[in-house]
């Protein structure tokens, strides 16, 4: 049995075990304990933390928001990304494609905190551009404010997240679209197919696997969302915009419920791993 390959891989494996394996195992183990961030002792509580999760009304809000984020991210990001990818691939010239690709992808390279603060200014109820625009269109802005209304704020956060990540979806879908054989489109055109028909009956079916992978990536991203919510509302007003990650942060570091926070993390990890597993499977199919 050759040992050398394992020796070469050993440093990376040790590194991975220390940075990933140890925290992972610790998280699972500590999810069965109750302890404060500043306490010196831990109390074993079995599955109490997981049972509390079922009863906690804030957890229900966080779960509902996570599902909303997950479903809407797929419903909104994929179709828009797909249309943009098709336009960039076949709808505009080479130079225009490069310019539009840069514009669409630009928000992706910005810091999330900077994006959050920027949008906070845009959505400011007194000096923000959003209210100015809405009023100019003859409509009334929300009385409680874009980031203060318990019903609409979560959707506003989603909009901002999509604004930043739509470019990422587009680039991945564009990469898939560029691999489609051009002769298929030529044949379709000779047969009298319109551009829309080509998109619907050639581009979309042939991008099926890429769409699935991008969808799964969007779903995993939606489940892990933290920064946007934390910067824009910190989970408020009340708990209206809590998502699992902000809840973990609050329980662990603000309320000191480290064990409970670990239990939420374990559950979130389980769901994310399941989605990751599906993503890997479809990635293999694509390749």
């Amino acid at each position: 049995m050759p040992v050398l390959p394992y020796l070469f891989a050993a440093p990376a494996l040790v590194f991975l075990a220390l940075l990933l394996g140890y925290p992972l195992i610790s998280t699972v183990v500590y999810s069965f304990y109750s302890y404060d961030i500043i306490s010196t002792t831990r109390t074993f509580v079995g599955f109490d933390n997981f049972l509390q999760l079922l009863r906690d009304p804030v957890a229900h809000i966080a779960a509902k928001n996570a599902v909303l984020f997950l479903v809407i991210s797929v419903i909104v990001q994929i179709p828009i990304g797909l249309v943009l990818a098709a336009l960039l691939d076949r709808g505009v010239g080479r130079t225009a494609s490069t310019v539009f690709r840069t514009i669409i992808f630009a928000p992706m390279v910005l810091s999330i905190v900077a994006v959050g603060l920027l949008w906070q200014l845009i959505l400011d109820p007194f000096a923000g551009f959003a209210n100015f625009l809405v009023k100019a269109l003859g409509m009334t802005p929300p009385t409680a404010g874009w980031l203060g209304d318990p019903v609409i704020t979560i959707y506003v956060i989603m909009f901002i997240a999509f604004w930043q990540y739509i470019g990422f979806c587009t680039i991945l879908l564009l990469a898939g679209a560029q691999r489609i054989d051009g002769s298929l489109y030529e044949a379709a055109t000779l047969d009298g197919a319109s551009e829309v028909q080509s998109f619907l009956f050639i581009t979309v079916p042939l991008l099926r696997n890429t769409i699935v992978v991008v969808s799964l990536l969007s779903m995993i991203g939606a489940l892990r969302v933290f920064d946007f919510v934390y910067v824009l509302t910190a989970g408020g007003p009340g708990d209206a915009t809590q998502v699992p990650a902000t809840m973990i942060y609050k329980e662990a570091f603000f309320l000191g419920h480290m064990g409970y926070a670990n239990a939420i993390s374990v559950l979130l990890l389980f769901v994310t791993v399941c989605l990751g597993f599906l993503q890997l499977r479809y990635s293999r199919q694509v390749s």
Partner: protein, 426 residues
């Protein structure tokens, strides 16, 4: 021969090392890590640490700062980490007490000759001193002097009803003027109102017993004054005292709205004075305490005063920096340093003697120093005086109250349930 040379070499090296360690200059070569809030407070500590280094050759310092909300979490994590701060800023009462209970903050030296006893009391637990205040803040309703003078409006409300009347008078004088600017995207801004109203509407002994969870489980937070306090805040909102979209507005934006003359009043701590001055309202504002309620059960004339201070981490005992940390604490409460703190951070000094070094302070500042010094009945922010789990219910409830998604009674029901749970767990 070789062996002999080696032994000689090692012995020489050891002797040299001993000499170096024993030399007076390097014996003092210690480093001190201080954690504080970013912003004006951090700016002061940055300058103070430089002066401390100059006054103590061989000492190096490091300042770590975080914004207000993040700091509360960071300090908990930091104190438990492998590299905790030596000196860290903290709030008084429960926030300081919990770190003492957890063994993360250590007892400090005697400061009774430097700092007034009343100021030290907020950091004294079981008769031992665990921190020293470096500033105090009073929360006042600041008003725009020119607006009130131009419209001949009263600036001395004698009762809560008068305050509501002021809001209406402002609106009547100028419909575009916001009576009181409020930004509660961070809910502690509403907590200032509720803390003061609780002090006025709940009998003092009951309020203190509830805060420390000494009341029996069946009476905890049942006094009707608590619900009334939340109702009074809601009344202010429904009577048009505040701007719209309070939960979407940051506290900083609310200060700017007042400083730029778009609102007639705002409730803010004395740390806001520098903000108002730099944003265009220098010498154009004055303050008053929130007035009493007719027939209130709490002591009259109560006032929200906050003290901030510094504590020393228990880890300094092992690190050998305990004495240096105490030395820094003594350094920042000298009248000269307190005066520097006032100049940079704009807060009120913890040491009255600092005023001797501050000849040119504004009318508002003088008012705040004198008025805060007179405060005998003190209200404290609920997020520092209550257990974190209970104050969290309050804080979340404020935003829901402002949005109308929860009533005062519902919030107090939740507060009470949490208080019973926390009491049972202790």
């Amino acid at each position: 021969m070789l062996m002999k040379s080696a032994i000689y070499g090692i012995a020489t090296a050891v002797a040299m090392a001993a000499a170096v360690v024993g030399s007076p200059a390097l014996a003092q070569s210690q480093s001190l890590e201080v954690w504080a809030l970013s912003g004006p407070e951090g700016n002061y500590f940055e300058q103070a640490l430089k002066r401390f280094e100059e006054a103590n050759p061989g000492v190096t310092t490091k300042l770590v700062t975080y914004p207000n909300e993040q700091y509360k979490t960071a300090v908990d994590v930091g104190l438990r980490s492998a590299s905790p701060p030596d000196v860290f800023r903290n709030w008084t009462f429960e926030r300081a007490a919990r770190l003492v209970r957890a063994g993360l903050a250590t007892e400090i030296e005697d400061f009774s000759t430097e700092v007034p006893a009343g100021a030290l009391a907020e950091f004294t637990f079981d008769g031992k001193l665990y921190g020293v205040p470096f500033d105090r803040h009073g929360k006042y309703m600041w008003y725009n002097k020119a607006f009130f003078a131009d419209h001949n409006l009263s600036t001395a409300p004698a009762s809560f009803d008068d305050l509501i009347g002021m809001c209406k008078a402002v609106k009547a004088a100028d419909p575009n003027m916001i009576p009181i600017a409020l930004g509660s995207s961070e809910p502690w801004t509403i907590d200032a109102y509720i803390a003061i109203f609780n002090q006025k509407l709940v009998p003092d002994d009951i309020r203190v017993a509830d805060a420390s969870l000494q009341s029996s489980a069946d009476t905890l937070f049942t006094d009707p004054g608590y619900v009334e306090a939340l109702d009074k805040f809601k009344q202010m909102q429904t009577e048009g005292c505040f701007n719209d979209s309070v939960n979407a507005l940051t506290p900083e934006a609310a200060r700017t709205i007042f400083a730029t003359g778009q609102s007639a009043m705002t409730l803010c701590g004395t740390w806001c004075l520098t903000v108002f001055d730099t944003e265009g309202l220098a010498n154009g504002y004055l303050g008053f305490r929130l007035p009493d309620f007719a027939g209130q059960k709490g002591a009259s004339g109560g006032h929200l005063v906050i003290e901030d201070g510094v504590q020393i981490s228990t880890a300094t005992r092992d690190k050998g920096t305990y004495e240096l940390a105490n030395k820094f604490l003594h350094f920042i409460v000298t009248p000269q340093e307190q005066a520097e703190f006032v100049k940079v951070a704009g807060s009120l000094p913890a040491i009255p003697g600092a005023l001797e070094f501050l000849p040119d302070v504004s009318e508002s500042f003088t008012f705040a120093v004198e008025d805060t010094a007179e405060a005998t009945v003190i209200a404290t922010h609920l997020d520092t005086s209550l257990d974190r789990e209970i104050s969290d219910v309050y804080l979340r409830g404020y935003q829901e109250l402002a949005n109308g998604t929860k009533t005062s009674a519902q919030i107090m029901e939740e507060v009470r349930a949490k208080a019973i749970e926390v009491k049972a767990a202790r």
